[in-house]
Amino acid sequence: MHEIGVRETVQFAGFTFNWETLCMTWLTMAVVILIAFLATRSLKLVPSGWQMVVELIVNWLHGQIDAMMGKSGRFLAPFIVSLFMFLLVSNWLGLIPTLSSPTNDLNTTLALALIVIVMVHFLGLYKKGMHYVAHFFQPTPVFVVINVIEEIAKPITLSCRLFGNILAGEILIIVLLKLMPIWMPIPAVCWLAFSIFIGGVQAVIFTMLSMAYLANAVKEEEES
C-alpha cells in the first residue's frame, strides 16, 4: 500500500479485482502451504521436531472441538486450522516492508466471515432440520427480529473487527515511519511489536468466534 486508501485494481472478464490483495493472498497461501508441507514432510510413528508441534496443535484443536461441539465436530478441524494459519500468516505479512496483509481488505475478511456464517446456517439446517429454524422463534416469535439482527451482525462484526485492526496497524506503521526521522525508529519498532501481538490476537479471536458460532450449529442440543 503505497498511498493510504488507494488500491490498484485490475479488470478481468468485466470484474474488478484488487490486485495487491490477490497477490498477497496467494503469497500467504504459498507460505501456509510451505509451512504445512515442511512440518508434515516426513511423518514418523515416533514423532520428533516439527511433527511434535504439529501433532500438539492438532490434538489441542481436537480437544477444543470436542469440548465445544462434541465428537461430531471433528470434520471441521481442517477448516479451523486452515483459517487460523491463514489469518496468522496474512496478519503478519503486512508487517514486512513493501508487503501488505490480505486481511487489510474488507473483501478478504468479509469473504472469510461469510464462509463461516454460511457454514453455520448450512450445518445447522443439515444437522437439526426444522428444529434449527424453530430456535430463531424462541422464546416467543417476536424474538425473530432480534435473532435475525444478531445473525446479520455476526459476519459484519467478525469481518470489520479483523479488517479494522489490521488496517489500522498498517496505517499507523506508515504514519509513524513518515512522522519520525529515520534515525529514531523506536516508536515504529514498538508499534511493530504491538502489531505482531495484535495480529496473533486477532487471528485467535476470529478463529475462536468462528468455532463458537459453528459449535452452536453443530453440537447436539442438551436442553431439548
Binding site: 486508501g5 470484474f15 493472498t25 497461501m29 508434515t40 510413528l45 481442517p78 473483501n107 472469510l112
Partner: protein
C-alpha cells in the same frame, strides 16, 4: 478504502482452495499418523498383556513340573529307604537264625560230649568197682557172679544218681 468488488468472490475461492490443499496435504496425514500410533500403542499394550498372561501360565506350568519332580524324587528316596530297611531286617533275621542254629549245634555237641563222658565215666566206675570188689571178695566168690552183681548195682546207681549229675 472500503470498496467491495469481485475480489470478495476470489477470496472465497482462494480460501476454499487453501482449505482443500491443507486438508489433503497436512491434516489428513497427521491425523492418520496419530491414529496409527494410537493403534500401535493399543496393539502393543494388548500384546504385552497377552505376553504377561502367557508368562504366567508358563510359570505355573514350570512350578507344577517342579513340584511333580520333587514328589517323584521324594518317592524314590522313600522307596530306597524302605528297601534298605527291609534288607537290614532280612539280614538281621538271617544272622539271628544263624546264631540260633550255631547255638543249637553247640548245645547238641555239648549234650553229646556229656553223654559220652557219662558213658565213659560209667564204664570206668564199673571197671573200678569191679576191680575194687574183685579185690574185696577175691577169696570167697566166683568172678563172673560178682561181676553181674556189681553191674546190677551200678545200673541202679546209674539210674538214681549219675543221671542227675551235672557234668
Amino acid at each position: 478504502m472500503i470498496d467491495l468488488n469481485a475480489t470478495f468472490f476470489a477470496q472465497i475461492l482462494n480460501f476454499l482452495i487453501l482449505v482443500a490443499i491443507l486438508r489433503a496435504l497436512c491434516y489428513k496425514p497427521v491425523v492418520r499418523m496419530i491414529k496409527a500410533r494410537e493403534d500401535k500403542i493399543a496393539e502393543s499394550l494388548a500384546k504385552a498383556d497377552s505376553d504377561v498372561a502367557e508368562a504366567e501360565s508358563l510359570k505355573k506350568d514350570y512350578q507344577a513340573q517342579l513340584a511333580e519332580a520333587r514328589e517323584k524324587a521324594q518317592a524314590i528316596v522313600d522307596k530306597a529307604e524302605k528297601v534298605a530297611a527291609s534288607n537290614r531286617e532280612t539280614s538281621l533275621q538271617d544272622t539271628k537264625r544263624e546264631i540260633e542254629q550255631m547255638k543249637k549245634a553247640a548245645q547238641a555237641e555239648i549234650q553229646r560230649d556229656r553223654e559220652r563222658a557219662a558213658d565213659q565215666l560209667k564204664k570206668e566206675i564199673v571197671a573200678l568197682s569191679l576191680l575194687a570188689a574183685g579185690k574185696v571178695v577175691e577169696k570167697n566168690m566166683e568172678a563172673s557172679e560178682n561181676e553181674a552183681l556189681v553191674g546190677d548195682f551200678i545200673d541202679k546207681l546209674d539210674k538214681d544218681k549219675i543221671g542227675d549229675l551235672s557234668c
